[in-house]
Symmetry: C2
């Protein structure tokens, strides 16, 4: 544990705890990264919840806009919000569009030459970041859950389904549930992994959930029925729900799925249902 591996950029009081912004050199992404932690006041280890953000977001959006910190303070759960892509790197084409490159890492490990030296957000959020967090924050490493929004909902589902037992629960707001079959996912996966559908399946929640054989996994999904990206076929939650039914061991997949009338894709939607998500994770983290 080198004390220089991770520096505190700022620390801000919120409820009975602090929002701490960290900066560190990432070996996985080969660049300098920032993440936010919410740390309730504590003298002992606490459970930890990861939140993965959506397209164009940074480590700040969820911290500032979700209204989650009150509930994490009450239930004494640490929150970790990583960024959504490598930053400050030099990759051709990474700033040409909102849905590829900067702010759009899609939580995959790229294999294409253009991207593979930096765009490895899957390994970053499942390995390097948790190890770093374990060295710098008082986390109970046996009590970890994960959630996300849109692209980050996809990321959370993939992390949980590929690592049985690593996360106690997973939840998504307006998650991209079947990226291999939607325009956003096809564009990103083609760029990052080439036209290798077999490789894509390892990062597709609908493909993964069909063949999940791990221990019991509680899953909570929330979706607004007025979400424009639902209507455009970017999210496809119905495919994921059907795939759960197709799993021969579906009794281990405890899916709680909500379609919310009138709600869209924004943080106003997240604000409204965040308490239910924190309660869901708290139930499994504190059990």
């Amino acid at each position: 544990m080198a004390s220089s591996e991770c520096t505190v950029v700022s620390e801000t009081r919120c409820f009975q705890g602090s929002v701490i912004k960290y900066e560190h050199r990432s070996e996985t992404l080969n660049c300098t990264m920032r993440f936010n932690a919410y740390l309730p006041d504590t003298r002992c280890t606490l459970p930890v919840l990861y939140f993965l953000s959506g397209l164009t977001c940074t480590e700040d959006n969820f911290m500032q806009k979700a209204g989650a910190l009150r509930y994490l303070s009450d239930r004494r759960i640490i929150l970790i919000c990583p960024d959504t892509s490598p930053r400050g790197v030099d990759v051709e084409g990474q700033d040409a569009a909102d849905d590829l490159g900067t702010g759009a890492g899609f939580y995959v490990d790229a294999t294409e030459p253009q991207w593979k030296d930096h765009y490895r957000m899957y390994s970053y959020v499942t390995e390097e970041l948790p190890a770093l967090v374990g060295r710098h924050l008082p986390v109970d490493k046996t009590r970890v859950s994960i959630m996300g929004h849109s692209m980050g909902g996809h990321g959370a589902l993939v992390c949980a389904l590929r690592n049985p037992g690593k996360y106690r629960s997973v939840s998504g707001f307006a998650a991209i549930c079947n990226p291999s079959e939607c325009p956003w996912g096809q564009k990103a996966f083609t760029a990052y992994m080439g036209d290798h559908r077999k490789a894509w399946a390892d990062y597709d929640a609908t493909a993964l959930v069909k063949r999940y054989t791990g221990p019991a996994l509680p899953i909570l999904l929330d979706q607004g029925d007025q979400d424009p990206f639902l209507k455009k076929g970017q999210l496809l939650p119905e495919r994921f729900i059907r795939a759960v039914e197709d799993n021969p061991e579906k009794q281990n997949l405890h899916l709680d799925n909500h379609m919310r009338p009138g709600f869209d894709h924004s943080y106003y939607f997240i604000q409204t249902f965040i308490e239910e998500h924190i309660q869901f994770h708290a139930r499994h983290l504190l059990a």
Copy 2:
């Protein structure tokens, strides 16, 4: 009531209500303005709470970051968030700094030639906007309160103290309490009103509260003791508190004042105490 005077830009579901963004032509400011409303689902009129934002903010900051909407939904109070200055106007020097001009209207009616055709945020928030809101939203015009943050805390106090009986309660987060005596206020007041200290006093809460003679006015102030602008002498809450004591009719000024250890000037501070502010206003609005 011309139906074209005010158009709905967007409507977004949040809790048991909607965030509605309006656009309208302002006669007072001589430009097109936007404001946000949070409207709980209702078939009858509801009380209304105004929130005035701080330097550099727009009508969005409080809506997105304060975590207030849950409490307004529960208590069925309409929230109105105006912008912080005229927009899209052509005034020399208005974009030279964060603390003057665009995003920094300071809730005064400018009298200096350079500013007076547009920068009249005091009349806008106390007259034109409430009249417009009254025509387009189901507000109970006898139940109105006001609050704000930083420059907006100054604005809220000035609106309440200059209009006895118009607002049932007033509150501020990290309010600029004595603008005539702080660098931010002196710069803005000199620009907008010239070097006329007598005119300044009409927009200075500390000067106004000394000579307030209206009906009982409940005032709630919250301040973080780690606020960098407190340390720099921009906020001066102690002057306001002393001035309340100096008022011969101080029994009508019901001041509840909190210094919060460890908190700064940010929306993380506001998030933490917003429930107490909504409860305070609800007590007076729903009485």
